[in-house]
Symmetry: D2
Subunit: 276 residues, 4 copies
């Protein structure tokens, strides 16, 4: 499947501000960038970091006071792993690679240490594997209301467990927390999400199963095979589309994604989707 993605973000910068931007499609083996363009206005110099382990591409820009416009457009071919869920096992902790282990630890918004008893009670007796993480997503979908404006940038999985309302990042944080509590490595992923309505940056989560990272979306608001991944991290604090050091007012944002070929429409939705 091939997608045209684009985003624009506008700020009114008040003081010289360092922006760490993460809006470009990630460089993944299964996500090929055919063409892309990043435009800044004013055209401040961009500093590019080497890609990190998850393929995230961070930019650093220092903007001066005044309007600051960021635009990205990409033509991306996505060939996610597409496998029968039944065949995807969990990996015992004793066999996990070292660089995966930190994704078992609790993080700012994913207090897996506190959610452990619940996770074990609710999901502990389900057969390990991809289907268990799907069961986690089903639980979240059934027990948490998707309510725009019900949470904020400080809301954590601990809170969502009680408040039972949130948006995509809260759904992801809860899913991550439950997985980690069950010794399944899990991380946060942001992306351009095909068919998401209204269009916006989307947040889902990835669980490490059968030696690969598989995507999960407890909101059920987008088709996973149509997710053009941007960034990953332990939770939302690692994968913001923009992190600002300085003072700038967010003005507006626009996000879009379009399928560029016919295949998209015919994709099955019941299969496990992985990023590798």
């Amino acid at each position: 499947m091939r997608f045209a993605v684009r985003s624009t973000i506008d700020y009114e910068v008040k003081t010289p501000t360092v922006f760490i931007l993460n809006v470009e499609a990630a460089a993944l083996r299964r996500q090929r960038i055919l063409a892309e363009a990043l435009t800044l206005h004013p055209a401040y110099p961009i500093e590019r970091f080497a890609e990190d382990e998850g393929g995230s591409r961070f930019l650093r820009v220092t903007a001066e006071p005044g309007p600051f416009h960021v635009a990205y457009a990409g033509d991306v071919e996505v060939n996610m792993i597409d496998r029968a869920p039944d065949a995807i096992p969990e990996v015992p902790v004793g066999e996990l690679p070292l660089d995966i282990l930190p994704y078992l630890n609790p993080s700012r918004f994913c207090q897996s240490d506190l959610l452990g008893r619940f996770a074990r009670r609710e999901f502990g007796t389900i057969d390990p594997g991809h289907a268990r993480v799907t069961a986690i997503c089903n639980w979240i979908h059934e027990h948490v209301d998707y309510v725009r404006g019900s949470s904020d940038a400080q809301t954590s999985a601990y809170d969502t467990m009680v408040l039972r309302a949130g948006v995509c990042r809260d759904f992801a944080h809860l899913g991550i927390s439950f997985c980690r509590a069950l010794n399944i490595p899990a991380r946060f992923a942001s992306g351009y999400a095909w068919q998401l309505d209204p269009p916006d940056f989307h947040a889902v989560f990835e669980a490490y199963l059968g030696g690969e990272w598989f995507l999960f979306d407890a909101t059920r608001q987008a088709a996973l095979q149509g997710l053009v991944r941007i960034g990953v991290g332990r939770d939302a604090s690692d994968a913001a589309f923009a992190t600002l050091y300085g003072e700038a007012e967010f003005k507006e944002m626009s996000v879009g994604i379009e399928a560029m070929d016919r295949r998209a429409e015919e994709e099955p939705t019941v299969r496990a989707v992985g990023v590798g």
Copy 2:
């Protein structure tokens, strides 16, 4: 039913300390004290307060440094309301007496304002009445583990909702929170609990239904018709067996209750039990 209750508490007082004690059986219309004795050693002067609305009997004592021993023994006849649960409705907020209204408000350990969405999702469609509060107790019993030492004096219903473990006071706080979130007045009650094993002060909760306060125990560890009520309040902070102002080390405690007549054994357990 008639019960012999007793308790002893021992402290090592470090500095002159004011004790607010609440260990005597409450003076309720349906709980008649046939005989009782309170012994302090040393025999410090006791200041008795007029009984409060819930029948709680508070004592104030100032103890000097050294050992301080409190002993209470009572012979109490309990004739709780015993009614068919089906016939006990909820009282619409528009018809509640004023002095009952504060029991709808959130309190230190019962954040009913935060647990509202969950309570409405889970219990909102159940027919109002005594059976709905029983459904609340069943949910707590099924979803929270009774684990000695899993909580402390600062643990609130918000925490228990996530941690899913607690002791009797945590079970009561959760029940109270759910009730209040559903506009059912609810309060915390402490007591001597027949058949509780091991013997200890027990905590349950009361919900205001059909114009009376009915008892509920989500722990299912004691027989409600065998609860000799001591104190009530918005939550545990109002109904401690002892509140200390000063410095004293808690040494040990012993609590006991025995049924004094045959009837106890024959009591049905499926009926609604109220204190009036």
Copy 3:
């Protein structure tokens, strides 16, 4: 001093809704209501409760779907206790009246049990008395920013202690928590506040000192001798101007207070102000 106070509140009621309103000036020995008028539109029947211990006057009204307008106007003479702060001692717990004791307990928004160590460290060595509570207010004024919109209806003193920003109710909750932690009974009070800009319902707190309740305002935004008290309670959850059971949309509100005599301008501001 004599004040003309007024308030109007407008709702769009969606479903039949019970309103517990608390907008009328309290009936206090030191606050005489010379004239007043409460107008509801539509003119639903009002149910008045007997005044509670703190003089709060609650109304209960059931409103049907449609617009609902509440208006209150009062002409109130305030003769607060006006005493030299130095002469006002704290009351040892061993000498507090029973009905005052609950104001030592933690409550939903005032976790005095958790703030105790800080309170004792920071204020424990200050001489007991009115001046110590003033020191508490000074600390809050210096260490917490008054920022409109920085907190919400769920924000507690625990949060404000970390976040260091809030509005009048948060300042009051923090003051109450510190007092209770130091064994000074304290409670939340709402009122019409002379010279508050912009005009709004105001929140302050009361501490029980020398056998009377004295007013404190850590925000320093209003003159305490010009506070026309409305309601009191353990914290904001007990003293809302309106508590709704049902569904209604808050539309707008207007609050006003004017001094009706010259004396107001000449009032000293350094003295202790009490409600009795």
Copy 4:
């Protein structure tokens, strides 16, 4: 300076349990391991991971039911950076290396996003540099009590900010949070701490200043130039001496460190100590 370090940990394993152990001295440019021995009893096979960026050396072992004994002894030469504090500047975010950026993000126990206003109020006007982080440590030392048993494995900086008591890990978490809130990268470090009394694993924190990681210890309980570093991470969840997946009972632990040369005694303590 040269140190002999040793530790033993004993478990009673209940079910086959994966241990991720982190007890060996880290492999750092400025910390040379002259000799060492790791002994497991039973002698289960050890899996060693490549050293991570911070030099931490993790081991993975699967232990079967029964007693499990871990012993480590090392002879380590430490040559920390020793520089005049005045000459060590903060690094502007615009100039930080990419792999340092995550240490600006909030983490499970370091909610720097919530502590930002306080940190800016209290430390925002202090001149940037090593001395500012020392000021942070001084503040913590003066405002938080070191109280064994006052916190647990779930206690976060948010809690410590209110509760004002904790142990070394809580002091470190608070220091890390304040640094991150001020845009100073900071991370958690565990180690063998010379002169710590009683001997135990110690926790301190590192701040990234002038292009190097410098050590800070707000507890003032150990000499930083005598810290033999073991592990680092975003917070305590990344740097546990042992993380268990399975069921095992912790039995006992013993930790020791001795200076092997004279120089130790003569070390100045006022200088900045860095690990590079």
